[in-house]
């Protein structure tokens, strides 16, 4: 599965990634609307979805699914805005802003990685076996 990998030690907290992300998806330069978040003080820490998929089983309306490339995506049309996925994300990488009634997350588009001056973020691949969601057909014997 494709995901946005990170190396905190290379991050210089410049905020370029946040800026690119929020401008791309919300037409606004506002780190609160970025799918990737960099800690502003102290040691650099990049917080971004690793596509583990735990949120998939939390969603009450199955609005969150993994696509063919392994990216976990939210179908905002059917999302009911409960934000359980935000509270249950093991890494706190599911994002929410009060201007919107749906959460948002990194879809590993790679735009931020292209602009990162130090290579602290980059698109990578890992085994599909690491997906955390349940196989419903198996669970319900279908």
């Amino acid at each position: 599965m494709k995901y946005l990998a990170k190396d905190d030690s290379k991050c210089i907290q410049c905020g370029t990634c946040e800026s690119i992300c929020s401008k791309t998806y919300y037409k606004e330069d506002n780190y609160e609307k970025s799918c990737i978040v960099v800690k502003k003080d102290g040691k650099p820490e990049i917080n971004v979805c690793n596509q583990c998929g735990e949120c998939i089983d939390i969603c009450p309306v199955i609005a969150i699914k993994r696509d063919k490339q392994g990216i976990v995506r939210i179908n905002k049309k059917i999302c009911v805005g409960c934000f359980m996925c935000v509270g249950f994300c093991p890494q706190l990488s599911m994002r929410q802003h009060d201007d919107y009634i749906e959460p948002f997350k990194c879809i590993a588009c790679g735009l931020c990685a292209k602009e990162c001056p130090t290579g602290a973020i980059y698109i990578a691949e890992r085994s599909d076996d690491e997906a955390k969601e349940m196989n419903l057909d198996q669970v319900f014997n279908r």
Binding site: P60, G81, C82, F83, F88, Q96, D98, V139, F140
Partner: protein, 717 residues
Amino acid sequence: MDIKRIKEGHKLLAEYKYELGTIERGYTNRTLYVNISDNTIASKAVTPMMKEKFVGGKGFGLWYLWNATTPSTKWDDPENEIVIAGGPACGITQYAGAGKSLVCSLSPLTDIPIDSNVGGFFGPLLKFSGWDALEIQGKAEKDVIVVIDGNKGLVTIEEAPYEAVDGHILGEQLTEMYADNEDDKRNVSVVTAGSGAEHTRMGLLNFSFYDPRRKVTRLKQAGRGGIGTVFRNKKIKALVVKFSNVKGDLNNAYDQAVINKTGIKYHREIHDLDHLQNNMRKIGTANIIEVMDEYDLLPVMNFQYGSHPDTEKIKSTVFIEKYITQGVQDGCWYGCSMSCAKAADCFKLKTGPYKGQRVTVDGPEYENAAGLGSNCGIFDPEAILELNFYCDTYGIDTISFGTATAFAMECYERGIINKEITGGLELKFGNFETAVELLHQMSRGEGFGTVVGQGVHRMKKLFVEKYGADPDFLFDIGMEQKGLEYSEYVSKESLAQQGGYGFTNKGPQHDEAWLIFMDMVNNQLPTFEDKAEALHYFPMFRTWFGLYGFCKLPWNDIVPADNKYTDEPAKVPEHVQNYLDVVYGVTGKRLSTEDMIRESERVYNFQKIFNIRMGKGLRKNDKAPYRSMGPVTKEEYESRQERYDNQLKEIGYNPEGKTTEEKIKVLREYREDQYEKLMDAVYKRRGWNSNGVPTIEYLKELGMDLPELIEVVKDLQ
């Protein structure tokens, strides 16, 4: 029969088109009135007075019911109503447990108002369709369904002859019929009863929600007080609501950001702490089966005992490991991260009309495991699941069924009734085959099942009048009060909980107060005044959930990590504040904890006066069966001899050399006197006189000195 043919059998009786309307700060400001006698459908305004004094939910239900009925209205009169209302917070999706509907009606068991709090999608979808409440009056000639299409703005009353009656089939049929496709099924919610509700007084209502993972229509129950019986007596087969396009902001909240923030904080708390506390996400309320046993509080064999070695066989881990599907999102409304609506999937039925079929069983909740299991002496998880399933689909309240069956079993074992009377049924404790046959008889409307289905109150009368039973003994062991069966906790050793059950409005149901740990285990309520304070605060606090459309469980079935360091851990202060914040977010009302209690006091006292108006609600109606207070029989005394002997010593009576009968008598005098003293203290704290009547002065203080209420209480001051 296929769905198309079933639908072709419908005959349209009435059609009503309406403007879709808007929701403002949680209110649509309209109620949908449907009369199935003359097939009128109308919109009624929700007035500012209703919002101010009754808030919503149960408050609205009781207000409409009061206006629809008179002191002489009986449950089966056409003017009796079934009112379903969510409350202003109902339908928000960010805070756990905010999809509740409150159902009110005059009860066939108690002849006074009953209210029942139920999950499922009906309440929220009703609101999004443009209605704060649904008020149903009248009685149809033939089976009807009422269909509300919240996208088209259309309400219809239709004769529906071919649909099934049993809840699990009818729920599926109507979901299939009214959904456009598989994805649309979650936008349909159905209310049904079941075949057993037709032949008993303990009928319940099933409220459905579609489970997109299991691909089945799940059922949540408005269980208590026989509202399903009223439903079928009115010849209503089902209510259907359909609304597509649910989003998280449809309540048009005053400040959505506050709700989001509070909701996400709570989701995180569940994520971090549930597995360390109650395991609600794994097994729901059934997590306490073994805890109740450990503290001697699990009802065993008609509340005679509080524990049993075989509880091991039905403890929560047995259900978790073997039956309940794990890891599936199980909220009964969107956003419920507590997710306690558990289910056993592919469960193969062993008896009855659906024998051999594999079904999804909604449950077991604690009350089911205790009522259908231990209280009937049944310690078999599969027996509990099967009884649970049939209770739901037949539309029978598991609590009333469990307590009534346990009573009948004890009467049988003591020779008060025999095989001739039971129609050949060997009604012994532990006999699952007999218990389930009683249920099947309730469904078919035959045999001794229909006698048990009348409830403990009427069985007592029958056994005395027809079979010569000792009325005093039956009064002692028949676990009912005001006509309603006790829910499944042994209150014998907690005076506060005896009051928690005994001084309730609707009858002995623990939704008003559950004080056993505070009182008996943690000794936090040593004086009568302490107990009275708790028996004021908690019933009022817990009433409040039903005004707004909340579930009580997320309040204290998990607590913040630092809760024990707060001033009043039993109140869970942080969660109380969460609710005040969410209500502020929805309505814009900034309430204090005092305001919150006051809102409840208004509705609570309204219900109290409603009871008085209907001929109950006075001190004599709060008298409780002695089994709820202490040992009735020799065996019960001797099972806890040390505890009882010690209590006798504490009150200055030397048990040495005394017979058990002598000791029972002295203990009983003491405990009954304590109960009376507690009643005095609680009535005083609640603003009532010694007869249990709210004083006019107190009603004025509450702003509830409405002329119609004063009329009821003025001669009882």
